[in-house]
Each structure stands twice: as C-alpha cells, then as structure tokens.
C-alpha cells in the first residue's frame, strides 16, 4: 500500500519514545501483566459471566475450575501465538459441556467477555500513555480475536461431530434388515424417506441379501408417511438391483396417498410386485419360497 510508509512515519513521530525493541516487548509485557493480576481478573470475569446469566448448566465450583483453565489457556495463546493447545482444550471442553445443553451463544459470549475484561484492564494500566495503549491494543486485539474465533469454531465443530454421529446411528437404527425365515428378509421402513436414507437403505438391503443369501425380500412401507418422485425412483432401482443379485422384492403397505402420488407422478411401477399389507406379502413370499405354514392345533404328544 502507498500510505504504509506515511503511517509508519506518523507513528514514529507521534510516539518517538517507542522503538522496535519496545514493540517486541509489548506482548510479553502484556502477558506478564495478565499473569500478575490473574486472580482478580478471573474473578471479575466470572462475575460478569454470572451477571450475563450464561452457563446456567454449571455449578459454581465447576465454573471456577473451567474459568481458571480457560484463562490460563488464553494467556498462553497470547504468549506463544499458537492456538493448537487451545484448540485441543476447547474441543475437550466442548465434549464435556455439550451433553449438558450449553449453547453456542454462551460459549462465544464468555470468551468475548474475557476479551473485554482483559482489554479493560489494559486500558486501566496504560491510560497514562495513550500512544502505548494503542500499540498494546494493536498487539492484543488480533490475538484475542483469533482466540475467540478458535474457541467458537472448535465448539461448533464438536457439536456438528456429535450431530453427525447421532444422525449416523439414527440412520442405522432406522433401516433394519430382518431375516424372518430362511432366505426371506423383511425391511420395514418407518418414518420419512429422503434421498440419503433411501440410498442407505438400498446399500443395507443389498448387503443383507448377500449375507443372508435371501431369495425374497418384503419391503413394508406402512410406516412411511410420504414418498416423492426421487424416493419412488430409488425404490424402483432398489427392486432392480435386488433382482440383479438374484432376489425378488415384494412391496407391501402402500398407503392410498402414496399409491395416488406414485401414479400421478408417473413412476414406472410395472415391474414392482406389490401386495396390500405385510401379512399378504409374507404369505406371498412363503409361497414363492415353497413354505407352507399350518396351525398346530393338536397338543404335543398326541
């Protein structure tokens, strides 16, 4: 930039007492100041957290312990300029507090409070020398913003990781492939089917066909409230793919709404073997497999 030399000159003129060496000393000075007033500043910070009604979920003891380590981590980052340790700590902290319902705004809020508390104390310390205060803040602010950024991002990352994990387990739970007889699988679909879930379902079904050497599969969609075109086409593909693996598919439990939707949107269902309800589907599957089910009316031993 063209005006950079001017700024540097202005600075040199306005603050003739500060040379390069002083500038290098600014951060260490600042860190020393924060270390010296650690207890007082930490308490002030904790007080402001309470005033702001943040972190309800934690007891005062926990709060004291956490604020101490956050404070120490904070000062350490200012000193070393490396956020790695803080990142690690923030992730670890998030892991502990997320299950207790701590929200993103609380975490960001407390870090910003700490930033303000420390900035205030710097104002207080350097209020005599406005030039020096400016330089100190120049050194402090980028580091402080970086810390706030790191903590917030770590927290959100951790939360997203937890959410992803939960989504995965819900997905796995939601598409069970159940063997009911030799070479017969049932796949009950409960809940909303979206593209992602339909894809997952197909994968699990094909894996199940291979593992259980299934010849017939009954897909029951009684529990699916709605089916759109994407999912309907996916179902057709599932049926085709199963056939390629040597299994025939029976679809049961199509609700009147879904039947109307499918016909209206014009999905080609001519190759689909559909039967009204799960019971009928099972009977048809047993017939295909050559099972005959008879009621054992006579008591044993006769």
């Amino acid at each position: 930039m063209d005006d950079d030399p001017t700024t540097a000159q202005d600075v040199a003129r306005d603050f003739p007492t500060l040379d390069r060496r002083d500038e290098d000393q600014l951060l260490p000075q600042l860190v020393a100041h924060l270390r010296e007033h650690r207890t007082k500043l930490r308490q002030e910070w904790a007080g402001r957290i309470q005033d702001a009604h943040l972190l309800h979920a934690m007891t005062p003891q926990e709060m004291a312990a956490e604020t101490t380590s956050v404070y120490d981590n904070y000062v350490e980052v200012l000193e070393t300029g490396s956020v790695e340790a803080l990142q690690h700590y923030a992730r670890d902290l998030s892991e502990r507090i997320i299950p207790r319902g701590v929200e993103t705004h609380e975490v960001v809020g407390i870090v910003l409070l700490l930033r303000d508390v420390l900035a205030r104390s710097l104002f207080e310390k350097y209020q005599q020398d406005f030039g020096l205060l400016n330089r100190v803040l120049d050194a402090y602010e980028p580091a402080a913003n970086r810390i706030a950024n790191t903590v917030a991002v770590s927290f959100v990352d951790e939360r997203e990781r937890v959410i992803r994990q939960q989504q995965d387990s819900i997905r796995e739970l939601s598409t069970p492939v159940l063997p009911v007889r030799e070479r017969l699988l049932i796949l009950p679909i409960i809940g909303v089917l979206d593209g992602e879930r339909a894809r997952q379902l197909t994968e699990q079904l094909l894996a199940g066909i291979r593992t259980h050497r299934a010849k017939v599969v009954v897909i029951d969609i009684t529990g699916a409230p709605d089916v759109d075109e994407v999912v309907a086409n996916h179902l057709v593909q599932t049926v085709d793919a199963s056939r390629l693996m040597g299994a025939s598919v029976i679809i049961t439990g199509l609700s009147p709404e879904i039947a109307q939707t499918l016909v209206t949107i014009g999905v080609d269902l001519s190759k689909m073997n559909t039967i009204g309800d799960l019971q009928g589907g099972l009977e048809e599957a047993e017939r295909l497999l050559g099972f005959t089910v008879t009621r054992g009316d006579r008591p044993a031993g006769e």
């Binding site: 094909l206 066909i209 010849k215 085709d240 390629l244 693996m245």
Partner: protein, 135 residues
C-alpha cells in the same frame, strides 16, 4: 481375435460355467463372447452360468455383451444365468440404467445351478441326468 482366452469356460455336465476373474476390455469381451457361443455347440450345453463375482465394475458395454451372450445362447439352445453381481455393481448398474434385461440373475454359483436345474427340469450338472419337462 487371437491370443490366450482370458476367461475359463468349464463344462459341468450339460452346463457351461464361465468365471470372469478380471476386468475385461472390449476386445477381450468380444473374444469371450465368441468362445462361449461356439463352445455351447461343441459341448451341446443346455445351460450357461456366467460368474462375475470377481468384478467390481461392469460398464455398459460389459452388460450389453452379457445380454447379447444370453440371447445368442438362447438361439443355440441354452439358458443363461448371470451370478455373483456385487451389491455395488448392482447399484451402479441400475443407477446408470443398464440392467441385464430379461436375463436371469442369481446370487452365486450354487444358486445359479439350482436355477438352471429348476428351469430345465433336471439335474444337468450331474453326468447322465436325463432331461424332463424340457421347455
């Protein structure tokens, strides 16, 4: 088409079993098609099993060739069943709209043999099995 055959075609009773062990390029597929169709006549085979279990990809030319082989085999008097299509391959095939048409498919070699026995109405894999209910 010259060179060594890349697909082993084995006679098992009145069936031919062709196992594709490795991905074939287009000219190799054509070679395989010619070999198989000519061997159906030589061995008077009544059933053909094509095992693709070792393939983790099957392109459009591959699946069309398999369909063609099945049709040619039918013209020469043999029923064809394709066995061992992997889940991923099956998904990719339907996603790209390249099914096996009317060709029968089965889970694995054992199922394929059972299928042929059923449609041909005898135990063709065993030597000397006499045909019944030929269709």
């Amino acid at each position: 088409m010259t060179g060594p055959a890349l697909v082993s075609i084995l006679r098992q009773g009145s069936y031919l079993v062709a196992s594709i062990h490795t991905a074939l390029d287009d000219s190799q597929l054509v070679r395989f098609q010619q070999d198989l169709v000519s061997q159906i006549g030589q061995h008077r085979a009544r059933g053909v099993i094509i095992d693709v279990a070792a393939l983790d990809v099957l392109d459009s030319f591959g699946s069309r060739t398999l369909r063609n082989i099945a049709e040619m085999a039918r013209l020469r008097g043999a029923r064809t069943v394709i066995v061992g299509i992997q889940p991923d391959v099956a998904l990719a095939m339907v996603a790209l709209g390249m099914g096996t048409g009317d060709v029968a498919t089965a889970l694995d070699l054992e199922e394929g043999l059972a299928y042929l026995d059923e449609v041909l109405g005898h135990t063709g894999a065993a030597e000397g099995g006499s045909p019944r209910n030929r269709r």
